[in-house]
């Protein structure tokens, strides 16, 4: 094998910094001039979308008929797909992680799936924007920002057709000279920001406020944010390249570029047509085919492409796409520099050298290793790192071999980095192959993520490679399989049943062979349904283990009963509600109730109960209809009771109660309840009439029978209280309690005495004592008079509770209870009580 040219052959220096420009691909397309096109390129070595620029076409007179087409190529110039554009001229082509966004100047945008050009989602910015039109737009990873005809910036987050929300008012009176977008992950606030060049200054906008940065060097034709978000490059109309910190706080560099653009005769020049950062280190300017790399102090590297070049800023460098080549320009990465820089004395360089000597069987190998013994670990690590930065497989191998060689001289070595670098390079080399055409660098791969790369591959229908990469990296294969299955269905031609079975069989086979659990059949079934393959959709849906996933599609397929059953089975009540609400809005009430008749389908009863829960809060009339239709009298009655309780108008409450009694009465098992509701109704009516009778001096309504009697007694209306008592057949026991409490509340001690003597108390006399003691403040002097009427064996304790220690002792003595007396003597507090007890004890012992 011929040894490829040494790495340094592509190096150049710019202000003592090494840059390298490597040719990645020779383009396999046939395009004569890139400047005829509107071009967008995806980051991280992604695809290139191009569309003929209408204005230029006119100019050049190469008028092509028919609808404009958008061509999507790989970075190597292989055509991926062609899209037909039938809306008003686009102002933005932008690659999202999943596909291509095309935005028309009337505010309508489409998100294309590259693997299937016929399928796209279309969203719009609304009618207002439609009328005003859009001036310009920019996208970032998770959304886009547009400038409307009324010079208002609007932001859309995500790619799901989210609502456009206006940013703070721009205050512009004419379109800005230029503007730039600061993505949320690079802005200080964590939210999206816009930098706008207007007049001589720059203003910063976010959703809330507008800040004038008070610079006076504008207007600026370009505002460029460096990949790490720390620097801004601004280009003035007078040809000054000015680099400042992102907050405008620090000046880094000023270069006069007015002369750079001219060719040898001094023609052209002026403001560059194109400008990009090359990593975070240099700014690259483009004038048609002329590309100039500018260092902070104004040194330059110049390249020429004919007739034009397109620049794609990357995280770690710059992709230059011309009609013939795809090249990558970057500052030489540090590990590479350490190994290959001419005259490098870095241990890694010595290690790399030592490998050469070793291969030549030269003793110098040993000498070299000895000289870097202490630094071997770092030398090995650097070689591994440098391997990642090489695109030539030869040097990748060589560097890894050097690392391996160095490792042999180490006592301890953690092979993780070595192994994962090997693994990564295998993936990178595979996708860089020109047919795949993704020239992603190691840095870009680490910054994006393997799953990003995989989604790139599947969107280009490289399913097998994507699957192998997933497996190689130990990632879940589901996304790949899902995409593959959808694509397979989309491409199927035949429409007959056997074809369906073949496809379904192939998909199930593949899923079971390659996928772990977790591949969603429902999503594929949905795709199938959308493509009109309903039979296949049903077949696929049967394989879906998660009921919840099946429901939306079943609804779409109008399989309502199955959908409802599946929703119930899922145990997710919200899903049941989802189905119920869908049915409620799409069916007639009669059909709806019929479907839910759980005497016919008992397995639907959970849904019926949920419907009641919902209707109770959200749709009373529905609930009433349902209960009525279903002969649920008890529920109807309870509903009336509940409504009676929330009704503050007495007459309406009476009406609800009457209605409740009627419903209860219609059920033969609810005679008791019917009677009670009737009583409730009667009571409220009585209370109302009592109030009227007393000219509304008192409020009786809402009281229970007990409380009404009590209130009447307290208010001195005992005749009426008696009548209520008789009407409601209140037991003697309860009557006595109510009356004791009422009399005590009125402090009617005489009345209490009279009442106690009126007849033999059905509750005994202890309640008189205990109740009087429980009042605040307690009434022991009144209470004590009832103690003699209590059960003798409790008297002692009752006296004690009244504080009458002497009497307590007496009563104990009367019963001859010495033990009790002794206990009294011990527990009596000091003073009079003690003496009283002692006296009784003394008399007893006499």
């Amino acid at each position: 094998m011929a040894v490829p040219p040494i790495p340094t052959s592509t190096w150049d220096t710019l202000e003592n910094v090494f840059y390298r420009k490597e040719e990645v691909y020779t383009m396999s397309w046939d395009i004569s001039d890139l400047s005829d096109y509107l071009i967008a390129a995806a980051k991280n070595g992604g695809a290139i979308a191009m569309m003929r620029d209408e204005r230029k076409v006119m100019l050049l007179g190469k008028h092509s008929s028919g609808r404009p087409k958008i061509y999507v190529y790989t970075s190597s110039g292989v055509l991926i797909t062609t899209l037909t554009w039938d809306l008003s001229p686009p102002i933005l082509l932008h690659f999202t992680s999943e596909g291509l966004l095309v935005l028309s100047d009337e505010g309508t945008y489409r998100l294309y799936d590259l693997s299937d050009p016929r399928s796209f989602n279309q969203y719009t910015f609304g009618s207002e924007v439609n009328e005003q039109g859009l001036v310009s737009a920019k996208g970032y990873e998770d959304g886009l920002v547009v400038l409307t005809g009324s010079l208002q910036f609007m932001e859309v987050r995500g790619w799901k057709g989210g609502r456009a929300s206006p940013m703070a008012s721009s205050g512009l009176s004419e379109p800005p000279h230029s503007w730039a977008l600061v993505p949320p992950d690079q802005s200080a606030s964590g939210h999206i920001e816009i930098l706008v060049s207007t007049g001589s200054t720059v203003i910063t906008l976010d959703a809330l406020e507008r800040i004038d940065q008070r610079v006076s060097r504008g207007p600026f034709s370009h505002i460029l944010l460096s990949p790490n978000g720390h620097f801004l490059a601004l280009i003035t109309a007078t040809g000054l390249l000015w680099v400042v910190s992102a907050d405008f706080g620090r000046n880094y560099s000023e270069v006069d570029i007015s002369g750079f653009g001219g060719d040898h005769e001094g023609e052209g020049g002026g403001v560059p047509e194109n400008a990009q950062w090359c990593g975070d280190n240099a700014v690259v300017l483009g004038w048609a085919g002329r590309v100039v790399v500018v260092s902070p102090h104004g040194e330059t590297l110049e390249y020429t492409y004919f007739p034009s070049a397109f620049l794609v800023g990357e995280l770690d460098g710059l992709r230059i796409i011309s009609t013939t080549n795809c090249e990558f320009l970057q500052k030489v990465p540090d590990p590479t520099l350490a190994v290959f820089k001419p005259g490098s004395s870095h241990p890694a360089a010595i290690l790399y050298d030592a490998l050469d000597h070793f291969d030549k069987k030269s003793p110098k190998a040993d000498e070299s290793i000895r000289s870097i013994r202490a630094d071997l670990p770092s030398a090995v690590d650097t070689c591994i790192e440098a391997a990642g930065r090489e695109t030539e497989v030869y040097y990748q191998r060589r560097l890894l071999k050097a690392a391996q060689f160095g490792r042999a001289f180490m006592d301890l070595f953690n092979p993780t980095d070595f192994v994962s670098m090997g693994q990564t390079l295998k993936v990178l080399n595979a996708v860089r192959y020109f047919e795949i055409g993704i020239p992603i660098t190691y840095e870009q791969y680490m910054a994006s993520s393997p799953s990003f790369l995989i989604s790139q591959l599947v969107s280009r229908n490289h399913h097998l490679l994507a699957l192998r990469v997933s497996q190689h990296l130990g990632l879940r294969p589901d996304p790949v399989l899902k995409h593959w299955a959808s694509a397979k269905i989309a491409r199927a031609r035949g429409q007959d049943a056997t074809e369906d079975e073949v496809i379904c069989g192939a998909i199930v086979d593949k899923f079971e062979k390659e996928g772990e659990k977790g591949v969603s059949y429902a999503e594929i079934a949905k795709k199938s349904f959308e493509l009109g393959r309903i039979k296949l959709a049903t077949m696929l849906l049967d394989h879906e283990p998660r009921a919840a996933q099946q429901v939306p599609l079943l609804l779409q397929m109008k399989e309502v009963k199955i959908a409802l059953t599946k929703a119930i089975d899922s145990g997710d009540t919200d899903l049941v509600y989802h189905v119920l609400l869908h049915l409620r809005s799409s069916m007639s009430p009669g059909d709806f109730f019929h479907l839910l008749d759980d005497s016919i389908s008992p397995n639907l009863s959970p849904a019926v109960r949920l419907l009641q829960v919902y209707a109770r809060q959200g749709d009373r009339q529905l609930l009433r209809d349902f209960y009525y239709q279903d002969d649920r009298r008890t529920e109807s009655a309870c509903l009336e009771m509940e409504e009676a309780g929330s009704e503050s108008d007495p007459d309406k409450r009476v009406e609800h109660l009457r209605q409740a009694a009627k419903y209860f009465g219609e059920s033969k098992d609810r005679i008791f309840e019917s009677k009670m509701t009737d009583d409730a109704h009667r009571l409220l009516s009585l209370e109302l009439s009592l109030e009227r009778e007393m000219d509304h001096k008192f409020q009786f309504t809402g009281l229970s029978v007990n409380d009404l009697i009590s209130r009447l007694l307290v208010e001195g209306l005992s005749k009426r209280a008696e009548r209520v008592r008789a009407d409601w057949k209140v037991s003697d026991k309860r009557w006595w309690w109510i009356k004791i409490k009422a009399l005590a509340q009125n402090k009617d001690w005489d009345g209490l005495e009279v009442f106690a003597k009126s007849k033999k108390s059905p509750i005994g006399y202890e309640p008189f004592v205990t109740h009087l003691l429980s009042l605040t403040p307690p009434q022991p002097t009144h209470a004590v008079s009832f103690v003699p009427r209590c059960d003798p064996k409790n008297r002692t304790d009752l006296y004690v509770r009244c504080g009458e220690w002497g009497k307590a002792a007496e009563s104990a003595k009367e019963r001859g209870d010495r033990a009790k007396l002794e206990q009294l003597r011990r527990s009596a507090p000091n003073g009079i009580a003690q003496r009283e007890v002692d006296e009784v004890v003394k008399r007893m012992t006499k």
């Binding site: 659990k517 998660r546 009540t573 309780g645």
Partner: protein, 674 residues
């Protein structure tokens, strides 16, 4: 009472403060005293962190100053996750309660944080419309709703119907388990038993399954799931489905090596326990003072008076109710005295408090005997600890006095006697008389009703005649608006005519699970039945069927051991917990209780899960539909009886018989305008 005297009038003056007072706090903040239990449980604090971060992230996603409108029902649970005042760091300018009425907003963002209730959605829609009809000066407002724990279709639908769906961003804040203590996780949901068992709305079961999945993501897959009851079965099925259906976030779950099983107890399996009056200190507090979200409302005098009040949550919130009482966080981590007494039978709390009072008195007295500067220094170092201890002592003494007054009443005595007789199955007719008697006295309605329900549950219903008489009188005494509640209790089989067709296993269980224990010593308990002075909660007995089989079959033979262990002398080692063997030995008992019995192994792990191989394992007991403080106390007590197994209690919320019955009825009627 001795304890209160020790505080109100110590014989020696308390030395003036030598240290600046500890930072103001409404919760006793002694971090000293009382040694930690030797065996450490799971680090459940991580769940709290997760919830806190999720909340902060949700708020930070909204750019600019925010007005936060908070569902009052969430204030308590949120307060357990983060201090609500700290939300200011997330640019929360103002806090309001979510209630009907127009907004006054001066920020660009309005954020509602609420449960996904339809009535809330209507209130919000109303507020947005009124705001839009008179636009704010600040320009158009940005509206966001954060629904807890999930954004539901129903809410979206209501907002759509109200015509505001397009103006509002709907998002969710996944608040699941809130760690109330190191061994107690609660979802702090309300009325779960009503939703599941009365209304047949299984939403809480689904939420529980999500919470338990999150738990498993943190601590590994439960090797075994046991349970009893319809709801338990549904929940266990859901857990397995989440795991096996291949949801990516659960796909990588490994079998836990810290948890040996999950035991799910469905509240419908045991209604008896919550109907009984709880007799532990904390249980009594809940019954008679009320504990909500770990907070209790107390007379400010019981908390330290000379500190500026810092009411929770957040002083910018207007008080939800105009009460002078102050909220106090009952936390065993901050208040060691509480940790000490919360699970004791109330009968011995008084003496425990006076013991502490005497010790404190002695400690303060120590100042007289200080001989050297170093002794003095030591004493000063102790003082702040003493002060917070004293503060805690004052609080608990005050609360104990309040409870003591209740326990001394005739009504309390008679209710308790009736309950104990009913549970033991003595003389049903006599208990009916007691019920009638309590009704005549018009004691709080729930207290009477709990006894009646208890009678119906243990007795297989009540004869039609006395039942009807009871209901009639009950409605007359407390009002006819309770009628739907009585209907609900009937449909739940909680208050039914005898003979009933529904199974009533209680009489048989009384024997087979030894639910009634006569000779229980409240001070030195040898059985969980101490929490009800003689009744062992059925629910917890079921846990013992799985984890401590021998204790059910015989009166604990290890009484002596336990006492010795408590004395700390001749410290005998505790018996080792036996491994989880499922319901073995109790299959017939389980079969006699209605509802399916659950016993599934989730993933066969390579090595058999052997309790002897591991120092200590945790058994998670999940109460679907809520649990009482007594059940918590009983499980904590069980944790201390064996070596090698801790119980971690998880629940949808904390309930008692009264809150349970209240949830089954309608809201009290509104006042009439006459």
């Amino acid at each position: 009472m001795a304890a209160s005297q020790a505080i109100a009038g110590p014989s020696r003056p308390i030395p003036a403060r030598l240290n600046p007072p500890p930072a103001p706090s409404t919760s006793g903040d002694s971090e000293s005293t009382a040694a930690q239990p030797v065996e450490k449980g799971l680090e459940v604090g991580v769940l709290k962190e997760l919830a806190r971060e999720a909340l902060i992230e949700s708020l930070n996603d909204i750019q600019g100053a925010k007005t936060l409108i908070l569902d009052p029902a969430l204030a308590g649970p949120l307060g357990l996750i983060t201090e609500i005042t700290l939300l200011k760091h997330q640019a929360v300018d103002k806090l309001f309660w979510l209630e009907p009425g127009p907004l006054s907003v001066s920020t660009r963002n309005v954020v509602w944080l609420c449960r996904p209730k339809l009535s809330h959605m209507r209130t919000i829609a109303e507020q947005i419309r009124s705001q839009q009809s008179s636009p704010a000066a600040a320009g158009p407002l940005v509206y966001t709703i954060l629904l807890v724990p999930r954004a539901t279709e129903l809410c979206r639908k209501v907002l759509e119907d109200e015509g505001v769906a397009g103006d509002i961003n709907i998002s969710e804040f996944r608040m699941e388990f809130v760690p109330l203590e190191e061994d107690l996780l609660s979802m702090e949901m309300e009325d779960v038993a009503r939703d599941i068992f009365l209304n047949g709305d299984d939403t809480p079961i689904f939420y529980s399954s999500l919470a338990l999945m999150t738990f498993q993501r943190a601590f590994g897959l439960f090797p075994r799931i046991l349970g009893k009851g319809d709801g338990a079965r549904k929940l266990s099925d859901l857990l397995q489905r989440h795991y096996t259906a291949g949801d990516a976030q659960y796909a990588e779950l490994e079998t836990s090596d810290q948890v040996d099983s999950l035991i799910i107890l469905d509240r419908s399996v045991d209604w008896v326990t919550p109907m009984c009056t709880q007799l532990t200190y904390e249980g009594m507090l809940d019954e008679y003072v009320g504990i909500r979200n770990g907070h209790i409302e107390v007379d400010p005098a019981l908390l330290e008076t000379d500190k500026s009040p810092a009411p929770t949550p957040g002083s910018t919130l207007p008080p939800a109710q105009p009460t002078k009482k102050r909220k106090h966080h009952l936390s065993g981590q901050k208040d060691k005295l509480l940790a000490d007494i919360r699970d004791l039978n109330f009968a011995i709390v008084g003496s425990r408090l006076s013991k502490l009072a005497r010790r404190l008195e002695g400690d303060y007295g120590g100042v007289k005997n200080l001989k050297s500067v170093s002794e003095m220094k030591q004493f000063v170092g102790k003082i702040s600890g003493l002060q917070s201890e004293q503060q805690n002592l004052r609080l608990h003494t005050g609360l104990t006095e309040q409870l003591m007054a209740i326990t001394k009443t005739d009504e309390f005595d008679r209710s308790l006697e009736a309950q104990q007789n009913i549970v033991a199955g003595y003389d049903t007719t006599a208990q009916l008389v007691t019920i009638d008697d309590l009704l005549s006295r018009q004691i709080p309605w729930a207290s009477v009703l709990r006894i009646a329900v208890l009678l119906s549950l243990t007795n297989g219903g009540i004869k039609p005649k006395p039942l009807e008489a009871f209901k009639r009188d009950f409605l007359q005494v407390y009002g006819y608006h309770h009628l739907p509640l009585l209907v609900s209790l009937e449909s739940l089989n909680l208050l039914v005519k005898s003979p009933t067709s529904a199974p009533h296993p209680f009489p048989a269980l009384r024997k087979s699970l030894r639910l009634v224990v006569d000779d229980i010593d409240d001070a030195a308990p040898n059985d969980i039945s101490y929490v009800y002075s003689g009744y062992a909660p059925l629910s917890v007995r079921l846990v013992q069927c799985v984890t401590q089989k021998n204790t059910i079959l015989s009166t604990a033979a290890s009484v002596g051991d336990i006492n010795e262990e408590r004395d700390g002398r001749g410290r005998k080692t505790l018996p080792r917990a036996h491994p989880i063997l499922g319901w073995r030995g109790f299959e017939d008992v389980l079969a006699s209780i209605p509802g399916p019995t659950v016993d599934v192994r989730q993933k066969v792990s390579a090595g058999r899960h052997d309790i002897n191989g591991i120092d200590s394992t945790t058994t998670v007991v999940f109460f679907l539909g809520g649990c009482t403080y007594t059940e918590i106390a009983a499980l904590r007590w069980m944790s201390k009886q064996t070596k090698g197994r801790r119980f971690l209690i998880a629940t949808t919320g904390i309930i008692n018989g009264t809150t349970l019955l209240e949830s089954f009825g309608d809201k009290p009627p509104v006042a009439l305008h006459t």
